[in-house]
């Protein structure tokens, strides 16, 4: 797992991962890259990350991947990422195509739902929490009076 201040150098990171994966004799290598789209008159997106819990989340996925004979990799940006730059790369390598295809989908979807990362639109230099696109994490609501206790 790799965290960077600002946009990711997608070409360098994915080229390096590709070489690692080839050396390990994996047959299928999938990367998912998230690119900042020009929409809603934003200049950039910006990200806060809580690293200790993100690292635990990632380590659990690495264990899960290992149990399927695969590996996962991930890089994410911290702070501002301008339009047409990238904030996120997830990768899966496996000897088997079907394992890799299933795993990358689960890995990316669980990332969106549960990785402790907060997203902001940057408009006129101001950060605005992307509340409507955010998802309560697994375990959210524990503080509610009618919470899940």
């Amino acid at each position: 797992m790799e965290l960077y201040q600002g946009p990711l150098d997608v070409k360098a990171i994915s080229s390096r991962w590709y070489d690692e994966v080839r050396e390990l004799n994996y047959g299928a290598f999938i990367t998912f890259v998230g690119i900042i789209r020009a929409e809603n008159s934003i200049e950039a997106l910006s990200f806060d990350i809580y690293e200790p819990i993100l690292r635990k989340w990632f380590d659990r996925w690495q264990e899960e991947a290992k149990s399927r004979g695969a590996i996962v990799k991930m890089a994410h940006a911290i702070g501002d990422v301008p339009i047409a730059q990238s904030s996120y790369i997830a990768a899966v390598a496996s000897p088997k195509r079907k394992v890799a295809l299933a795993l990358v989908e689960e890995f990316v979807e669980d990332f969106k739902a549960n990785a402790p990362i907060w997203k902001y639109d940057v408009v006129n230099g101001k950060r605005i929490y992307a509340k409507d696109r955010s998802t309560p994490m697994e375990g959210a609501g524990v503080l509610r009076k009618d919470g899940n206790d």
């Binding site: 809580y50 819990i53 907060w118 997203k119 929490y129 509340k131 955010s134 503080l143 919470g147």
Partner: protein
């Protein structure tokens, strides 16, 4: 004393509270103008492990982290 940290968009400095459970923390947050809106949708970690039991006991030195809705990627 328990240290409570508010992550991401909550935008509030950490505080030290004399509390013994998440339930007491929930009571505290419900009375705070800024914090009350985050009670409903936040997850909670104690010493960086997410907990799912509102009666989870807290002891002095614990660090509690409030995790509002996320959107990585």
């Amino acid at each position: 004393m328990v240290k409570v940290e508010f992550l991401g968009p909550i935008g509030k400095d950490p505080i030290e509270l004399n509390i013994n459970s998440l339930e007491e923390l929930a009571d505290y947050m419900s009375k705070d103008e800024v914090l009350k809106e985050w009670v409903e949708n936040s997850a909670v970690a104690v010493n960086d492990t997410v907990v799912k039991d509102r009666n989870f006991p807290l002891k002095s030195g614990d660090v509690v982290t409030i995790l509002p809705p996320v959107c990585g990627g």
